[in-house]
């Protein structure tokens, strides 16, 4: 595996559109559930161990070589919110475009053809990692990190939080990010039925509220 390929894929500047999404942080800020760096840490930790673990395991499974269409269906079953399904597919479509330009492969072409409107983003990311010669745990790390870096970046803008404090939140989560990535990769080794389905009720509920806002800073 190439360590540099992992950096390219995990880079926030990888042109896959993630910067437009707050990962549920925008409604949490508006509702007063995130007011400072401590709240941000609690938010990120909760998201990491629920939606983050679930997404990381889907990515690890795709990187491992499990059927991406079956994984896409498993992702649908794990995403009761239609707003979040739409977001995941939109991000998947954008990731697919960037991935096929960066690491072209017949596997990516096949998934793009089967899901022209986009597969769930973690599945696309996992397959991209596989194409780039990365392993399941690498893919899981990427997704786990995105799960927390998105909200942290968003909260810097939404609350004018000190970027140093936001980055410190991410750095302190590093051991848990490693844990979640390892857990996700381990689950992926045991097949699709063993994948976790951890979920966060408030993220599902507020995603629907947020999608209906007429004016918002972030797409999700």
């Amino acid at each position: 595996m190439s360590r540099a390929a992992l950096l390219v894929l995990a880079d926030g500047r990888f042109p896959a559109g993630g910067h437009a999404h707050s990962g549920g942080a925008e409604p949490a800020v508006t509702q007063g559930r995130i007011r400072d760096a401590d709240d941000l840490a609690a938010f990120c930790r909760g998201r990491l161990h629920t939606a983050g673990l679930t997404a990381a395991a889907l990515a690890a499974a795709a990187a491992h070589g499990l059927d991406p269409l079956a994984l896409d269906e498993a992702a649908d079953a794990r995403t009761p919110s239609p707003a979040l399904r739409a977001t995941a597919r939109k991000l998947g479509r954008q990731m697919m475009r960037a991935a096929r330009a960066t690491w072209p492969s017949p596997e990516l072409d096949a998934l793009a053809t089967a899901r022209p409107r986009g597969a769930h983003q973690p599945v696309v990311l996992g397959l991209t990692a596989r194409t780039a010669g990365l392993g399941p745990e690498d893919a899981a790390h990427c997704v786990a990190y995105e799960t927390v870096s998105g909200p942290a970046t968003a909260v810097v803008r939404l609350l004018s939080l000190d970027p140093f404090h936001a980055t410190a939140v991410l750095a302190r989560l590093a051991p848990e990010l490693d844990e979640v990535a390892a857990q996700a990769a381990e689950a992926a080794r045991h097949g699709i039925d063993a994948l976790p389905a951890a979920s966060a009720p408030l993220l599902d509920i507020t995603a629907e509220a947020h999608a209906a806002w007429p004016v918002r800073l972030f797409a999700s």
Partner: protein, 262 residues
Amino acid sequence: MSVRATARLRAEPDGRGSTALPLLESAGPLALRRTRSPLPEHARVTVVGAMSAPLNGDRLAIEAEAADGARLTVDAAAATVALPGPSTDTGSSTYAIHVNVGEGATLYWLPEQLVSSHGSDLHQTTRIELAPTARLLLREEQILGRHGEPTGALTTRLTVHRAGRPLLDQQLAYGPGAPGGWDGPAVLGGHRAVGQLFLADPSFEDAPLPARLLGPTAALTPLAGPAVLVTAVAADARLLREILDGALHELLDGLKADTGNS
């Protein structure tokens, strides 16, 4: 002394427009009683807790089947309270619910709340297999702690397959030993009652319901397949039930209107 018990029931059409219960087998603390159903075509089974359960270390299970064309309601006489039990080294308890709903069959699975008392440690799993034309209405409510006490450890997993394909898979984990952030702003935000109301109905295939908010802490969402899920959090069991009851009556009225039109 921990308990291992599996209760079983099977409902099938009785050939006279109602539903028979050829299998109704209580086990350990899970006593099953046939009770009078307000819906004439439904058989109704009420789970009556015959003793305090589950205690840590117990292994409880219910296996239920609504055969093709059957109409069955399963409810409960009281909330299920997970308790720590007499000794501290018994490990966690499990409560496994396995349900099959056949072609053209209807199952209302409406138990009372699951209360996680301080010191308890319960893993509940609900696995449901639906035939393509099956209907299922299911409610689950998790109450974290009895009044004013800290919660026990509780994990639940709800997995629904329809025609062998995944329709819903959802796992929740709360309390001591749960991964960090479970009580934080992404997951519960300090709420102590969490509930799901799930309705699968083949009519949603052609006419899916739109997503809708049911107040600030609840949403009705159409799944990718022909089903809807209501997800709600609330301060306590009573407020949670109000939200879910409102959604339940609305959903059932909607189905009745559908049947009336066809």
